[in-house]
Each structure stands twice: as C-alpha cells, then as structure tokens.
C-alpha cells in the first residue's frame, strides 16, 4: 500500500472539513463548527493501475492511503500551516465559489506552497471550488435571494489553474458532486509520479532504499523556537 500525505488549505469556512468528511465518511453536516488547529484523518482508496508500463504486479487495483491534514482556515492558525504542508505529497487548495475573496486567498496559498515547498514539481496541487450546490439553485428565484450565487467565474479559476499547472475541480461537499474525482485524480497522478520515480531509480544502480532515507533526513528542520517553554 502506498501512503501519501495530503493537506487541505484555504480560507475559513470554504468547506475544507466538509470536503474531507464527504471523502472519508461520505456524509455532510449542515452545521459545522470551524476547525481548531487541525484534524488528522486517513482514507484508503483503490485506483486502477494505468499499467502502461511493464510493471508486472499491477494488474489489480492499487491501494492508496491518504493521510489527510484538515487544517483550520482562520488567520490565527496561519502560523501552523507550514508544519502541515511541509513534506506533503499533495495539497488541495479550496475556495468558495460564492465568495470572491476566497479565491484570492487560495491564490496566496498556492503561491506560498510554490515558494516554500522544496520539491515544488513533485507536490501535486489541486485547486477546488466548493459549494456549487449554492449556484445550481439560482434558477429558483426564492433561493437566489438567500444565496449570493456565483461570485467566482469558472474560467478565471480554471485559467489560473492552467497557468500554474494545477489540477482543477468544482465540487459540492453537500451533494458530493466532484469530491471523489478530486482525490482520485490526485491519487492517479501521485501513482504515475511514483512509477516514473521507480523507473529512474532502476536506472540508477544505487539502491533506492538508501536514497529515500537520505531525502528524508536531509530535509531542513523548521523547528522554530515557538515552544512555550522558551
């Protein structure tokens, strides 16, 4: 089984926890408390092997375990974020399609990820617009009075995603639409990366075990002296 670390980032109340809940538990809470700190969940999914390589063992489904950090969106937990996205394999940056500001916030998250994460090319980032259930009901006049409707243009977000080489989805955690795809796409991509890596490693005569350890150990320590006993 392959394990990947995934982190959810984004402005507060865009629906990060709801997306995770939909993905992990396939349920939705109308009322949700905002996350304090972060919650750690894991979910295993199975993907079909692309199997274009000659990898003999992968005729079956491949189990991929996501270790998910669901972070708090509030500004005051901002300082904790690096700890979660450091060493992450994938990041899901969420915005709210009914809140214009949340996309700007998402863009700053993407920029931060691109600048701070060592292995920028390896980090899979997916930009996700949540709450599309709120705009699909705008045909209903009564509903539209309550809900603000779409505030973030699909094309704007899509273009941004293309520009920065991000995956892009619009989803609804409430109805579940699109949520599964986000994670399956990430899983597929990560697996593809792994196959490429393996191929590279095989060319290298060096034992790949060692190499991976060195990578882990040489990571710079970001221990900042914020411990309370300082």
């Amino acid at each position: 089984m392959l394990q990947y670390k995934l982190v959810l980032l984004g402005d507060s109340s865009v629906g990060k926890s709801s997306i995770v809940q939909r993905f992990v538990k396939d349920s939705f809470d109308e009322q949700r408390e905002s996350t304090i700190g972060a919650a750690f969940l894991s979910q295993t999914i199975k993907i079909k092997s692309p199997n274009k390589d000659n990898d003999q063992e992968n005729d079956e489904d491949i189990a991929i375990k996501f270790e998910i950090w669901d972070t708090a969106g509030q500004e005051r937990y901002r300082s904790l974020a690096p700890m979660y996205y450091r060493n992450a394999n994938a990041a899901v940056v969420v915005y709210d399609v009914t809140a214009k500001d949340s996309l700007n916030k998402a863009i700053t998250w993407v920029d931060e990820l691109k600048s701070k994460v060592d292995d920028e090319k390896k980090l899979v980032i997916s930009l996700v617009g949540n709450k599309i259930d709120l705009i699909s009901s705008t045909n209903d006049i009564n509903e539209s009075a309550n809900s603000p409707g779409r505030q973030v243009d699909l094309l704007d977000a899509e273009n941004f995603a293309k520009e920065h080489n991000l995956l892009f989805h619009e989803v609804s955690a409430k109805t579940g639409k699109g949520v599964r795809d986000v994670f399956y796409e990430i899983a597929t991509l990560l697996y593809k990366q792994k196959l490429e890596d393996d191929a590279l490693n095989k060319k290298d005569t060096n034992e790949n075990e060692d190499r991976s350890i060195n990578v882990a150990l040489s990571r710079p320590s970001t221990n900042d002296p914020t411990s309370c006993c300082s």
């Binding site: 538990k25 349920s27 949700r32 408390e33 919650a39 700890m83 450091r86 309370c228």
Partner: protein, 745 residues
C-alpha cells in the same frame, strides 16, 4: 429598539430637569445637548451631571479626601480617549468643581446610572423618584468604601426610593437563564445573572444576555466606572452590592485585566465576590486559551480601540455562551471551591493502576523505540521526523484519559513535579466537550471508524503559561469492557508543534494496549471477583440502599417539582456510592489532591450549597432572601485536634444549618429541578408549603464536606452520623475516587 427609547426618555428627563431647576451655568446646558448626541458612552455622563445638579446642594456636606487638582488632571487624561468632546468635557469638569460637587457624588450617581440603564423600564415611570435620592447617606457609605479601596455598598438608605422599583423587578420569577433566551427578549433586567466582557477602551466584546444596543449602553457605564476608580484612586473596582429591603440583592463584580474588562451581575444572594471573581477569571482564561496573552496584548497594542469581536469567530461566542450557561444553570461543584477542583472518574484501584502502567509503559517504549526505529522509516511515514527524535523525552508534557461527557479525569501521565492547574484542565475539558463531542456522537452511529479522526489542537493554558501555546493530541475512543460506557478521550499535550506524529504513535499504542487488556480474561475475572461492593456488603444491597434513600426524596415531586434524582451508578460496579441513608446529596473535597467527589445528579443544587457555604462562613448574617428562616440555634462546633507533638494542627469546623424553603405547589413544566426563588412568588391560585432540609458543612484542613439531608429528615444526630460515615467511606476509598499520583515519569 428599546435602547433607543431609553435614550430618548433619559434625554427628555434631563431636559425637564434642567428647565425646572434652572441651572446656574448655561455653558453646561449647551454641553448637555452636545453630549447626548455624541456617543453612548457620553450619555451616562450627561445624565450624571444632571443628577449632580439636583443633588449638589446636599452634597456639599460630604467629606472628600481627593484633592481637587488631582481630580482635574486625572479627568483630563481620561477624556483624552474621546478627543472630539474633550473640550466640552473639560469645561464640564471645571463646572463640576466650581459648583463644589464632589467625586463621591459622581460615583454614587454613576451607580444609579447603572441601575437606571438596567431597570430602565421602571425608571421611566419614576422620574420624580430619582431626583429625591439622598446622596448624603449614600456618599458617606461610598466614602468609607473608597477608603477600603475596593468594595462599595449601596445601603438601604439609598434605596428607599428603589423599593418600589424593585418590587416590579421580574427576577423573583424562576427565570431559567439560558443563552438562547435573549432572542426576542432583549431586556437585560430579566436575567438573574449576566456576564459582560469589554475591552479596556470600552468596546463591547461579549454579553451573555441583552441586545447589542442595550449592552453597548451598559458597557459604556461599566467602562466609566472602572476608569473612574483607576484614575482617581489607582485601584481596581471589584464589587459593589446593593441590598434593598425587599430582600433583592444585586451584585456587580468587576475583573480588570487590561486590555480586557469583565463584569458579572448576579442577583443570587449566596454568591460571594470570590465566587464571581472565580467565574470571571474562568471566562477570561477561556479568552486567553484561544488567543494567549501575548497575542491579546499585541492586538490591543496596535490600536487600543481594536474590536475583538471581529477577531473571534462564531464558535468562540458559542463556547462563551456554553461556559456562561454552565456557570449559571448547571450544577458544577468545582465552582464552589475557590481553589478549584477536579472530579475523577471512580474506578477500581486495580484498573486504574493498570491504566497507569499502560501509560507509563507506552511512554517509555515510545522514547526508546522511535530512536532506534528511525532508520527504518520510509520517507512517506517520516513526515514528522525531520530530526532524530533525540528530544522525545521532553516532547510529551502531560497525558491523560478523560470521560468526556462528565469532564472527569480517568488517568494521568505526568512528569515528576508537574501538574496542570485545574482551570487549565477545565478549559480543555470544556473545549473538547463543546467542540468535538457532538461531532463525535453524530458520526458514531453512521460511520465505521471515527477513531481515525485525530485532532491536533493548539491551546494556550493560561495558568501554565499565558504567553504560549501547547499542542494537544486528542483522540476519542470507547472501551466499554474496561472503562464502562461513555466516550473517553486520550489527550497528549506537548510543547512542540511538530510532535504530532510521535504523539500519535504513542496514542495509538496506548489505546491498542488498553483494548488488548480488555481481552485479557484474567483481568475480567478480577473485575467480577472484586466487583462485589465495599465493606463486604454486596453490590445489590448497596444499590437497594441507594434506592431506598431516594424514595424519600420523591417527596419533592409531590410539590410539583421535577426532581430527577438520577444517580448513575458507574458501570462494572466499579465503585459504589457510600451509604447515604438520610443524605440527599453531598460534595466531598480532598484539599490535598484538589479533587472532589459528588454523586452525579440532574438537578442544580448550587444554590443550596452556596447558601450552606455562605451561612457557615458568616453565621450571623440572617438577611436572606429566599431560604427565609434559619434555624435559630445553629449547631456550630469547632474543635481542635492535636498531632503527635501535641501541637494544635487541625481546626475542624462543623455546621448544621436548616433550610426552610417555601415552595409552591405549582407545575413549572419548563423548569428542570427546582428553584428556590419560587419561594417569593405568591401568585393567587398557588398554595404554599414549607420544605425543611438540614445541611451540614464540615471543614477541616484536610477535607471539606458539604451535605444535604433528605427533606424533612430533621434528626441532627443521625445526619451527623451519616456525614461521618461518608467521610470514612471517602477516606477509605480514596484510591478509587481520587487520583493520588498518576503515572509519573
């Protein structure tokens, strides 16, 4: 809406006054109008000035220690906060001094403003009354108390006129105070108790009850009062209290923690200033726990008028609501004790010892195993091992297992010589209970594996270090065979924010070893073998005893009171209750361990215990509102014990008090438990009866016992005997009902 009405009525009133009295200085009149229109904070000031006009002739008699120049200088500094009107206020202060009014008059009138704003409804009909205040008396009393530095009392004389005001007060009704009540009912004076939080600049942050418009007015007054004392005497205003002849007492307690000011308003006559300060401190500690002192200071250092409400989110306010609700409406014995107290989940010593062993073993394992294991980690699992775990030993600060619903401690893992303050622990329990428990329970039915949800939460523990955050790994679990039913949580606290993975490994280990233990048949045998009661009596007979003792308490229900006496006996018969033949309820606190035990009960007995506590500390005070007639010959004993050296060491205080509660035969369907305040209600169609209860308070240097006898059980001797039995039982079962050491590393 209502607040605006008040403004206009007061404005009108002031207009009337000035025209009637024909003020000597026309300058002031102009200022008046200006101020009324400027801000809500200025409004009470104008009001005060008006009243000073009325009272200034009599006020000249008063003696004032404050030197006048000092007062002017200080007023100037206070006024700097409101630059736009500072000029006018300068004139005002000059005027104030020139008409030889004094500062005491100002304070007493400010107090009236507070009253006015709170009881504005009645005030509007009683304008004439307000003007006939006898400042002479009130200010002498105020004077005296200013010299005492903190405590002010508004005495009966001052409230001659307020008797008829108070008669109209609705707080005689058994109004259950809940946070949601203020929807649609925006009148602050309807509430028995209220909490206000504001910034030192006077900006509202939180009020338990009342609409925004109302609370802004009140906070203006609170701000002025606090600042006044700060400026003039350089001291903090703590409490002022009003007692009226109609037995309605009202207490306003302040806690000034720059940049935050908190105030509690309580009509409960049994609550002391210390109780209220304790509660305010808890609220303040909650704010710190989410912000930390350092961040709070930083926010306000940039701009003093920073609006903290924007910084807090909805959950924070919900949590504040639930904390207030917990303090006001629920039965939490820990708020009885000034020094704080914890409740421990009762369980067999053997099982608790086992838990401690597990905690310690896993902890030791994790310190050794991870350091050697480090090399075998793949990069994917070693996210949180950027370095070698050489300093793992200090990464865990404190660990514990708690029963979430009842906020009871099950087991503790702590370093030698370190304990966490009870306030900090209660904050953590409260956070977990309000934030995560509902979520956990929601999903518990529907999903397969909620245990996979691990939380990593930064919390500031204000009593540990108010400037920094600690990080809590929280994992919920159930383990019915070993611990009994209920949702338990494992909490591991670390000072390092990146130690999640280590703590998770440790946590998973602990939980799985506990599950493993459960499967161990030998242990389950020991449980059944030793589960047969205490003192040799079988568990069933014990239970029968308990039931018998509660049949008598059903008397209460005869009076239309829903007394849901519901003693949950802990599962597995782990620990049974002590013999409680004639005892309705008790609280036993071990002073050394800072832990208490009280049988769980679905009834708020707080007032009874508060009454008992207050009576025993001040035996001569008989001016009580609701628990009317006190036994005329209280059985008060004090005896001393000698230790082996023959020195006097233990001073034991033993009190027996009789409650004589008038209760109404009437069905309050919407009220849980019963409220002693019903005693004052004499609506037609209700018949009155008297309920008599004995209460025992037994305080030594070692323990505190508060005990309520069964209603109508009036045999003091037997009740004392029962009290002794309970103490004996508690001492004997100390390892079961308390945690003495915990797992210490």
């Amino acid at each position: 809406m209502r607040a605006r009405d008040i403004n206009t009525t007061i404005h009108n009133a002031s207009d009337n006054d000035t025209t009637i009295k024909d003020p000597p200085n026309s300058n002031l009149n102009v200022n008046n109008d200006f101020l009324v229109s400027t801000s809500s904070i200025a409004q009470p000031i104008t009001n005060t000035i008006n009243t000073i006009y009325e009272t200034s002739p009599t006020a000249t008699d008063d003696i004032l220690d404050l030197d006048r120049n000092n007062a002017t200088i200080n007023s100037n500094t206070s006024i700097l906060r409101m630059p736009s009107i500072s000029k006018n206020l300068n004139k005002l202060t000059d005027d104030l001094l020139s008409i030889n009014s004094n500062v005491t008059a100002l304070t007493s009138n400010l107090q009236e403003d507070l009253l006015q704003s709170i009881y504005s409804d009645t005030i509007t009909h009683n304008n004439s009354n307000i003007t006939t205040v006898n400042t002479n008396n009130s200010s002498t009393s105020t004077n005296r108390n200013i010299n005492d530095a903190v405590i002010m009392k508004m005495d009966d004389v001052n409230l001659n006129r307020s008797d008829d005001l108070f008669l109209k007060l609705p707080d005689l009704l058994p109004h259950t105070v809940t946070a949601s009540d203020n929807i649609g009912n925006d009148d602050v004076c309807h509430f028995k108790k209220n909490f206000f939080i504001l910034s030192s600049a006077g900006k509202p942050i939180y009020s338990m009850h009342g609409s925004d418009e109302q609370s802004i007015n009140l906070m203006g007054v609170i701000h002025t009062l606090v600042e006044f004392f700060k400026i003039n005497k350089n001291c903090d205003l703590k409490t002022f209290e009003m007692n009226s002849k109609s037995n309605t007492s009202c207490k306003f307690t302040f806690l000034n923690k720059h940049p935050i000011v908190l105030m509690a308003h309580s009509t409960n006559p049994y609550e002391t200033e210390l109780h209220l300060l304790n509660q305010l401190d808890f609220l303040y500690s909650y704010l710190l726990s989410i912000l930390s002192k350092r961040q709070l200071d930083r926010l306000f250092s940039k701009r003093e008028n920073f609006d903290l409400r924007n910084f807090l989110n909805q959950e924070n306010f919900q949590n504040l609501n639930s904390i207030c609700n917990m303090i006001c409406n629920e039965f939490h014995p820990e708020f009885l004790f000034y020094s704080g107290s914890l409740q421990v989940y009762p369980m067999k010593k053997k099982i608790r010892d086992k838990l401690h062993t597990i905690l310690l073993k896993c902890y030791v394992n994790s310190t050794t195993v991870t350091s050697t294991d480090n090399t075998t980690f793949t990069p994917l699992t070693s996210f949180f091992y950027p370095d070698h775990s050489r300093d793992l030993s200090i990464s865990l600060l404190y660990g514990m297992i708690t029963l979430v619903e009842r906020a009871q401690l099950v087991s503790v893992l702590r370093p030698k010589g370190h304990t966490l303050h009870t306030t900090d622990l209660h904050l953590l329990f409260q956070l977990i209970k309000s934030q995560y428990l509902p979520k956990y329970l929601n999903h518990n039915g529907s999903t397969n594996d909620t245990g996979s949800n691990d939380l990593w939460v930064p919390v500031c523990f204000p009593k540990f270090n108010s400037n920094g955050f600690l990080y809590c790994f929280i994992k919920f679990f159930t383990n019915e065979p070993l611990l009994g039913p209920g949702c338990f949580s494992l909490i591991l606290i670390s000072a390092k924010k990146d130690s999640f993975q280590r703590l998770k490994t440790l946590g998973d280990q602990i939980i799985s070893s506990m599950e493993h233990l459960t499967l161990n048949k030998i242990l389950s045998k020991t449980i059944t073998a030793t589960g047969n009661g205490i003192n040799g009596s079988s568990s069933t007979s014990q239970q029968r005893k308990i039931h018998r003792s509660y049949s008598s308490s059903n008397l209460l229900s005869n009076y239309g009171i829903t007394s849901n006496v519901n003693y949950d006996i802990p599962t597995l018969n782990i620990v049974l209750l002590p013999p409680m033949d004639n005892v309705y309820h008790f609280i036993y606190k071990s002073k050394n361990l800072v832990q208490h035990i009280s049988p769980p009960i679905n009834e708020n007995l707080m007032d009874y215990y508060l009454y008992l506590q207050k009576q025993c500390s001040t035996p001569n005070n008989t001016s009580l509102a609701n628990l009317a007639s006190l036994d005329t010959t209280p059985n008060k004993e004090s005896f001393n014990a000698r230790n082996s050296n023959g020195n006097m060491v233990v001073v034991t205080q033993l009190d027996i008090k009789r409650y004589d509660v008038d209760i109404m035969i009437e069905s309050y369907n919407d009220i849980d438990g019963y409220d002693t305040t019903t005693g004052k209600d004499t609506k037609p169609g209700q018949s009155q009866s008297s309920l008599q209860i004995y209460g025992v308070s037994w305080i030594t240097t070692d323990f505190e016992l508060y005990l309520l006898g069964n209603p109508y059980f009036l045999n003091k001797r037997k009740l004392l005997q029962n009290a002794k039995e309970i103490i004996y039982w508690c001492k004997k079962n100390e390892p079961r009902i308390f945690i003495k050491q915990g797992a210490v590393f």
